[in-house]
């Protein structure tokens, strides 16, 4: 009976965990989209790169703020080294990470127009990612329900 209860709880927990991760991922994607658009908007203001990154971060203390701090701490860092030194976000998929990694060296460009172009391109790609992800909007609820149903089924079967 106790074993069955434990199995049921584990199954339900897995469903809730998956739902939580999916929700976090959706939130993260929206935040990156907003950050890229903020930076694309600020690129026309001819800001130094750390300020541009902070404009994208908007005081959240997220990865862009860390990137800005890294630039100020190590001003001679190059784009590749800089990207490698940034913390990897595990919730992002490979193609999403790749879109960011392709955009960031564009910020090194000597002209604000090129910076803006790189940011607009990344923001466009990101809109696609969000659209795809929007189709999975019902997933967290589905994962929760599957977890509960699976747990109940396990309990019944094991009893």
């Amino acid at each position: 009976m106790i074993g069955a209860l434990l199995c049921a709880a584990a199954c339900a927990g897995a469903g809730f965990y998956a739902a939580e991760r999916t929700q976090e991922r959706m939130k993260l994607l929206s935040e990156w989209q907003a950050a890229l658009e903020r930076m694309a908007g600020a690129a026309g203001q001819e800001l130094p790169l750390p300020d541009l990154l902070r404009a994208g971060d908007a005081g959240r203390g997220g990865p862009l703020a860390q990137a800005a701090a890294l630039l100020q701490f190590r001003p001679t860092i190059g784009p590749e080294e800089w990207i490698n030194a940034l913390p990897k976000e595990k919730l992002l998929r490979k193609e999403e990470r790749q879109a960011l990694e392709e955009c960031l060296p564009g910020l090194w460009a000597p002209h604000p127009v090129w910076q803006k172009r790189a940011l607009d391109r990344a923001a466009g790609q990101w809109r696609e990612f969000l659209r795809e992800n929007g189709r999975q909007r019902g997933r967290p609820r589905l994962y929760r329900q599957l977890g509960i149903l699976g747990g109940a089924a396990m309990f019944i079967l094991l009893c």
């Binding site: 001003p75 190059g78 784009p79 460009a109």
Partner: protein, 272 residues
Amino acid sequence: MDWHLIVPAGALPAGKDLSRAREVRLRPGQPIEALLPEGRWRGKMPLSPQDILNAAQALTNHGLAARNRELAQGYVPLPGGGRMGAAGRMGENGLLEITSLCVRLPHEIRDAAAECYPVVRGKSTLIAGPPGSGKTTLLRDLIRRHGLDGYQVGVADERGEIAACQGGRPQLDVGPRCDVVTGGDKAQSLMMLLRALAPQVLATDEIGGGAEIGVLAQALRWGVRILCTVHGGGKADLRPRLNPLLGPGGFEKIILLRGVGEPPQVVGREDV
């Protein structure tokens, strides 16, 4: 400025000190080249275009895009004095790509004007010479010495190379009685100094434009002495460009410099 932190490891041998360099040049496919007091020096490792872009970003504290407009107009003043010029692909609104960098660094030689100061003291003086001959170094020491002698000196430091003001303070010694207007249009800065700060001596670097020559001529009419530098080789070469300042009531002395050396090598002092 620690060049070991600006160029990639290997481009500059460990222990090589470029802090006394007056000029550093970076070109793609070529090693770093520096003009040191003892002569030109070249590294061994060729630089990539990305190395040059990274160096430009490091020199401007990652504000290259923000300062592109300044760069396209000629140069970007660097913190602590000096200026960074660049070559590359020009677009409509600035440099789209950077292929070469030339960093000019001011340096002080306190006694650069020791020999010629007694002759030019209190006189309107023009310092002429080719690029790299030490015109600004000599001008700075003349400004300092005039200040020490009690003259109120106004300096229009358009490129930030004379006084290298930072945080409101000159980083290079321009003496105790010096008012500096940094950046901005040279003619406008000179007029501002003339009207607001009542200088007895007005100094500026690399004259040549019509507007500043007009202001300097006006300063001379008001009884202000002027100290200026100009690119050029001799009086005959200068006359077409600086005619209003070379006649009666204009410059009283011309100091001619030659070559690239340290300290500035005076080849002649002429009365005008």
